[in-house]
């Protein structure tokens, strides 16, 4: 009896893992296509009207992440 229950549990776990994988793929794809898409398209659209950047002569920029104190380091950002 215990063996059968174990097998059922194993099967359910296998199924839920696969089901979760399919579900997450659908949800993540919708998020990407809809939300990222709208934002991405808007960005590209307004980018067309932006002033053309002059040709750069360096790719160096100032490093700005603040990490001076214990409080700064507590942030994950």
């Amino acid at each position: 009896m215990l063996n059968i229950l174990k097998k059922i549990k194993k099967g359910l776990l296998w199924f839920s893992k696969k089901f979760g994988y399919v579900n997450s793929t659908i949800i993540l794809t919708i998020v990407y296509v809809v939300f990222f898409g709208i934002y991405g398209l808007l960005k590209k659209f307004f980018g067309l009207f932006a002033k053309k950047q002059p040709k750069v002569m360096t790719m160096w920029r100032q490093f700005e992440t603040k990490s001076e104190t214990l409080e700064d380091l507590k942030n994950e950002f």
């Binding site: 993540l28 794809t29 991405g40 960005k43 790719m59 490093f63 001076e68 104190t69 950002f77």
Partner: protein, 586 residues
């Protein structure tokens, strides 16, 4: 809550990308550090380094609640921000990469704080997050012994930064300049590693080893993919690179059109074309690195340079820095890659944030686990292995004698090294005067590509008479020309070698073995390569080492004071007692 006394212990952790590691500082001193892969036997293991952490705590004889602080080597939310912005930028091409990344981030990487709490239930303090490149920079600067230095990090990518320039003065370290994703020298090198059919984030050093076989005839073609400015900064032509939006590194169609060859599959023959591309890539990389360090020198006008990040393991470029740059002194943290971030974040906290000044010189990297003679004896007896037991000088003489008899030896002694190089405690050693040893060790012992060169270890007092180099190189991070003509097994095609110098202070036992070999042969140099098979992490325990001995054509195995000779044992019979892990390609 009752306030407890500070213990001086800081734990640094790196994980969830590749090469997870843990490091324990006691009053700023690295007392224990190790990569997780050595314990789990999974190469480049990225998971939370539970075993490495436990080793560190056990070594110090402390528990989680005794830690003052726990640090993580990057800021995860900033990294997540970079991913989201990138996926918006490349929409809709990034769907597959996005799906793969988001699963990982939503299930694990966004919950790092929770994972730490779960794995470290007895630690009640804060988890502290140090930016990725600051962790790299700190590992190099705070163990350099310099009081004033320019600090350059060259890596693939952290949060946003890919390359940084900063300065350390006293106990303060500040990064001033950065280049950001996607313009990355590390990713640029990795992209070509992929194109040449090698594994990304793993086999970049093979491309460096392949370069001397080729001619740099594709430099101009490569430079069409990267605009290099006078100050060493650069801009990649992202039409050719796919790592922003795809699961592969390059736009294979564009690369094929540009170079005329498709991406090499890992089982395909290496053609002259691949060697020429490797040579050209190496040349372009060196040019960029030299320009960046010159720019850093111009900014700070100091004599000292600290280098860190994965690209700092390019020892050919490092050799050119010491010969051609304006810096007089160079320090590279031996574990310059991501595992070293575990050390760096802890050091940054200890020195910069907490304001401590002491312990600024790296003593050595033998900070991993060691195994007791009693345990090894028990293991050998239980498995009916025939061995000799020797102490002190006698051991050094026996090992040197076998080396001089052209036996290939697995050398396992003392504490394991931290970092990608085996420096005499988890090494395979052989006689460098015998040319055949190059192929023999490559093909029959390590089962790896025949083109890959071997590094020499030289007694520090003989360094300058054997190699064209004016400074010690204890961590095998510099390449120089070989002066003498009797070291064919460690002299690469371009007459260069990646050198480890060893002094009595750094590793007495290893030094004495070479000294005895020198007395017997007049040669103060031996071959030193890491003790592992292809695709396998370097051995950690005596059992790992013994299994390696059984699986290969190695003649002799030294486990601390015990010498096991293949001629006295039946390897096939011994093999029946063990199960062997299967390792993938490296």
């Amino acid at each position: 809550m009752e306030k407890r006394e500070a213990t001086g212990y800081i734990l640094g952790i790196s994980c969830f990308y590749h090469d997870a590691a843990a490091c324990l500082l006691k009053d700023g001193e690295i007392i224990a550090a190790a990569s997780e892969e050595r314990f789990t036997r999974v190469k480049h293991d990225e998971n939370f380094p539970e075993k490495a952490m436990q080793f560190c705590l056990d070594f110090a004889g402390i528990k989680q609640q005794d830690l003052d602080y726990v640090c993580f080597y990057e800021k995860p939310i900033l990294k997540f921000e970079r991913l989201l912005e990138t996926y918006i930028k490349v929409w809709p091409r990034g769907l597959m990469s996005y799906l793969s990344a988001m699963r990982m981030w939503l299930s694990k990487k966004l919950w790092i704080n929770n994972i730490f709490r779960e794995k470290m239930k007895d630690y009640k303090g804060d988890i502290l997050y140090v930016p990725h490149h600051l962790s790299h920079a700190a590992a190099a600067y705070y163990k350099s012994g310099f009081d004033d230095a320019a600090v350059v990090t060259l890596d693939a990518v952290g949060e946003w930064s890919t390359t940084t320039i900063g300065r350390g003065v006293g106990n303060k370290l500040k990064i001033d300049k950065e280049m950001i994703f996607p313009d990355s020298l590390g990713l640029f090198y990795s992209a070509f590693t992929y194109y040449l059919g090698f594994k990304v984030n793993s086999a970049e050093y093979k491309v460096m080893g392949l370069a001397p076989y080729g001619k740099p005839i594709y430099v101009d073609k490569i430079k069409e993919l990267i605009e290099i400015f006078e100050d060493g900064s650069f801009k990649l032509d992202m039409d050719y690179f796919a790592y922003e939006y795809d699961l592969v590194m390059i736009n294979e169609k564009k690369f094929k059109e540009h170079f005329g060859y498709a991406t090499r599959k890992d089982d395909e023959q290496l053609e002259q074309f691949h060697k020429d591309v490797a040579a050209s890539l190496q040349k372009v990389t060196e040019e960029i690195v030299l320009k960046i360090v010159d720019y850093a020198h111009g900014l700070y006008k100091t004599e000292n340079l600290c280098l860190s990040g994965g690209v700092a393991l390019n020892c050919v470029a490092n050799g050119r820095i010491i010969r051609e740059s304006k810096f007089k002194h160079l320090f590279i943290f031996p574990e310059a890659g991501d595992a070293g971030g575990a050390v760096g974040c802890a050091l940054y906290l200890y020195h910069h944030v907490l304001g401590n000044e002491d312990n600024k010189k790296l003593k050595n990297v033998y900070v991993g686990p060691a195994f007791r003679n009693e345990d090894i004896r028990k293991f050998l007896n239980e498995n009916e292995v025939k061995y000799g037991e020797y102490n002190g000088e006698e051991l050094h003489k026996v090992v040197a004698g076998k080396l001089a008899d052209n036996r290939v030896i697995g050398l396992f002694q003392g504490r394991m090294e931290f970092g990608p190089r085996a420096l005499g405690n988890r090494s395979i050693i052989a006689d460098p005067r015998v040319k055949e040893n190059w192929q023999r060790v490559n093909l029959k012992i390590k089962f790896r590509e025949s083109f890959r060169p071997f590094a020499p270890t030289v007694m520090a007092d003989h360094l300058e008479s054997m190699f064209e180099i004016d400074r010690e190189t204890p961590y095998m991070l510099l390449v120089a020309q070989v002066i003498v003509d009797y070291l064919p097994a460690v002299t690469h095609l371009d007459n260069s070698a990646r050198i480890q110098s060893v002094s009595k202070e750094q590793n007495e036992s290893y030094y004495k073995i070479i000294e005895e070999f020198y007395k017997l042969t007049g040669c103060p140099v031996i071959i030193n390569t890491s003790f592992n098979l292809r695709g396998e992490p370097i051995v950690c325990s005596h059992e790992d080492a013994f299994k390696g001995f059984l699986r290969t054509d190695m003649d002799v195995l030294v486990l601390n004071n015990f010498v096991i000779d293949v001629t006295e044992n039946d390897k096939e019979k011994l093999k029946e007692r063990f199960t062997f892990e299967q390792f993938g390609k490296d």
